[in-house]
Symmetry: C2
Subunit: 444 residues, 2 copies
């Protein structure tokens, strides 16, 4: 169920090994390689990468507007980082992550989430950092599932965390950041809903009903699936945990009474964030949460899923010894983000073409075209030379089709003389001028 070894032992080798002794060209003739990516991961051709980069840019800009600093780390992490939290995590690591042992006998995992990495790094400098600190990153994360389920094995996830304070306004700030991000993508409050719960409050409410701690953990996990199963199945599963139908009934009543007014709710309302509901059934996957937990759901029935989730975890850095540093944060995936933008028609078709195309009349002018392109490039304008051997008409229509804004044709006259003609490909307008004048016009 986990990646297994490749070794120099011949019997473990893949059949492609039989191609090895053949010279290069024979290998080609025998069996062309497939052009697709590894199963369950994505290639990003420029038009998709432009969307991905747009999403990353809005994420980064919003994080920085809230004073968050970017950090980063390798996708390779010691496996113990994920296993140390208990037996269940050990199973998760073995079955759901890419994990292998290196020749130094180190067990290594392709990170399945970023929070443990952030906690590790915070713990490593707990004495030097001036808390609270605000950190963000946009790592790629891996999970090892059967790809045929249609789920990706790699995705990118924006992570934002505040470390070193348990003030409730940190919870408000982190949710306000998530909220502002969606607004910065052009969304309005009607398009999404913030669902809020509090693990500490829930523990108090369960205790008040006489529910034991192990049962609370089991009920929390069950609640994670509550929206996906029938109310009968839910009740049956709850009875199995409590072994007490009356208690189950009380629990359901308690969960369904969600009109809590916590400080976090009130504070968000004061910031004008009104699309918030308290949802006592909200569970979140990770065991390490200790207080506020939240998710943001798309309100469009066509894309009824969670866009973002997070919560407060006040003990995670304890794994590394030393004084615990409290934290609160969230993660938001690239796939969910893009789905949301597409569902609400917020995604603008990106243009990846150069702003200015330099079009040599023939390939003899290709070098001259490079010389003309140079000062535009130095000034930072996206400028390319069409160095193909197409006819000029084809070059012009290609530039226009790819949505370049301007073109300059370079023939013998343009090389010998002093004057160039800049053509606006949208309006057809032409401007004559020296190279310096045209650089000034487009970049000045």
């Amino acid at each position: 169920m986990i990646p297994h070894q490749t070794v120099a032992r011949p019997q473990a080798m893949h059949s492609v090994a039989s191609l090895a002794p053949l010279p290069y060209n024979q290998a080609i003739m025998n069996k062309p390689l497939p052009t697709g990516p590894y199963k369950g991961v994505r290639d990003f051709y420029p038009e998709d990468m432009a969307i991905e980069q747009y999403i990353f840019d809005v994420w980064s800009q919003t994080a920085e507007s809230f004073g968050f600093e970017q950090y980063g780390a390798s996708v390779l992490e010691p496996s113990e980082l994920y296993k140390a939290k208990g037996a269940e995590n050990e199973e998760m690591v073995n079955e759901q992550t890419y994990t292998f042992v290196d020749r130094g006998d180190r067990e290594v995992t392709l990170r399945p989430e970023m929070t443990p990495t952030a906690a590790r790094m915070i713990a490593g400098r707990a004495k030097e950092l001036s808390f609270p600190v605000r950190w963000y990153a946009t790592p790629n994360l891996f999970r090892y599932e059967r790809a045929q389920r249609g789920r990706l094995r790699e995705h990118w996830q924006w992570n934002c965390d505040i470390f070193g304070t348990n003030d409730y306004t940190a919870d408000i700030e982190i949710i306000a950041l998530a909220y502002q991000t969606l607004l910065n993508f052009g969304a309005d409050q009607s398009m999404f809903q913030i669902r809020l719960n509090d693990r500490a409050l829930m523990t108090r409410l369960y205790h008040a009903l006489g529910v034991a701690d192990e049962q609370i953990t089991a009920i929390t996990r069950l609640n994670d699936r509550r929206n996906k199963i029938s109310s009968e199945d839910y009740r049956a599963a709850l009875n199995e945990i409590t072994n007490d139908e009356a208690l189950s009934e009380q629990i359901i009543l308690m969960l369904d009474n969600s009109d809590e007014q916590t400080d976090v709710m009130t504070g968000l309302a004061e910031l004008g964030i009104d699309n918030v509901v308290f949802d006592k059934s909200l569970a979140r996957g990770f065991d390490y949460y200790t207080g506020t937990i939240f998710e943001i759901f798309d309100t469009d029935p066509a894309n009824n899923r969670s866009l973002l989730g997070g919560g407060r975890y006040d003990n995670l850095t304890s794994l590394f010894g030393g004084t615990p540093v409290p934290g609160i944060g969230f993660g938001m995936g690239d796939v969910g983000m893009r789905n949301f933008l597409e569902t609400h028609d917020l995604l603008i078709e990106p243009i990846t073409a150069p702003t200015l195309m330099i079009l040599p009349m023939s390939i003899e002018q290709n070098l001259a075209a490079q010389k003309i392109a140079l000062p535009f490039r130095v000034a930072g304008l996206s400028t390319a030379v069409d160095m193909s051997d197409r006819k000029l008409g084809k070059k012009l229509s290609a530039a226009s089709d790819h949505l370049s804004e301007y073109a300059i044709v370079v023939g013998e006259n343009e090389i010998d003389g002093d004057s160039l003609t800049l053509k606006n490909l949208t309006t057809g307008e032409e401007t004559a001028g020296t190279l310096d004048q045209l650089v000034e016009k487009l970049t000045g």
Copy 2:
């Protein structure tokens, strides 16, 4: 010598498995986890990430000024992508990469270089793409070496490639892009040297001396080490290949006569790029190069190494069948780039602190401070609230120490009244105004 398996078999498990049955807190008490990263990879705390991001930004902006489009792909690639090029590559993959087999019996490698991925993607859309295309990416790459050699197992490398033309001006453009990048970092021509060679030309020169093709490959590999060994050792190794001392002598004379004037050399000079030498001993590591090859060296004796290398490879997409698409490109690593900037004192200390700090008099004003921060954040100004329970004086000096530019103190008066005071932390100057006025002042 390669990563080996972790499986559910107990004997293969790491000793940390013994912690699994223990509850969370006991695990902590018994053995705190280390806070360092996996061996041979780096953590990027914000001050290092800011430098990394600055390098990536200049790379991306320069690529885009040359009309290059960004693409991306997963770090996971089918291993055959690297093995298919021959037996030697098979050995390289097994010994020098992270390679494992997944449960679908797919052999997977953490990519050691980006060019094969780019070639795979180009081949996959060879019929739809309008050539030439210009692509760039900044992937992380992995190599599996003994970490104690001091070499990193993961680095980030900027890759730029032009596909679909073998016009010599593409070679000039790609070198001009590399050159302009260093200028955009603030370097001048004296700080680096471009070394140029041409595999096709070298093949002709070797053939003219009667050197056979297998010998050419061996000599090229030997030349890759020529600067690192004595001239005696070089001559001895060459004799071993040629088995003909007179021929070896002729080869050395040919290699040392480096005053070639190729079209690429001449064209670069026409673009004002004069710090170029032709170096017939320049070899480059990869077998797939077919024409122009080049490297850029730091001229500072303190950092005498290659910053960047690349070349033309006209057959790489043939591995995937179909019509070959010629390509030329280069890769430039983050570590070498940072070394170069530090060596030439071109690296500006990055500031990662928020531009504006909102400082509550006490934690009772933390929520009010969030409300005041909001419109600055919406306007895109990097704004943070100091939500700690430090005294105001400490908050002010922390904001100043971290090089924030402005602060606004929030007490009872500021909440009740209409007026706020903006403090310039450099000049000490204070400006009173309403929230709207101050937002306008800083972001308008």
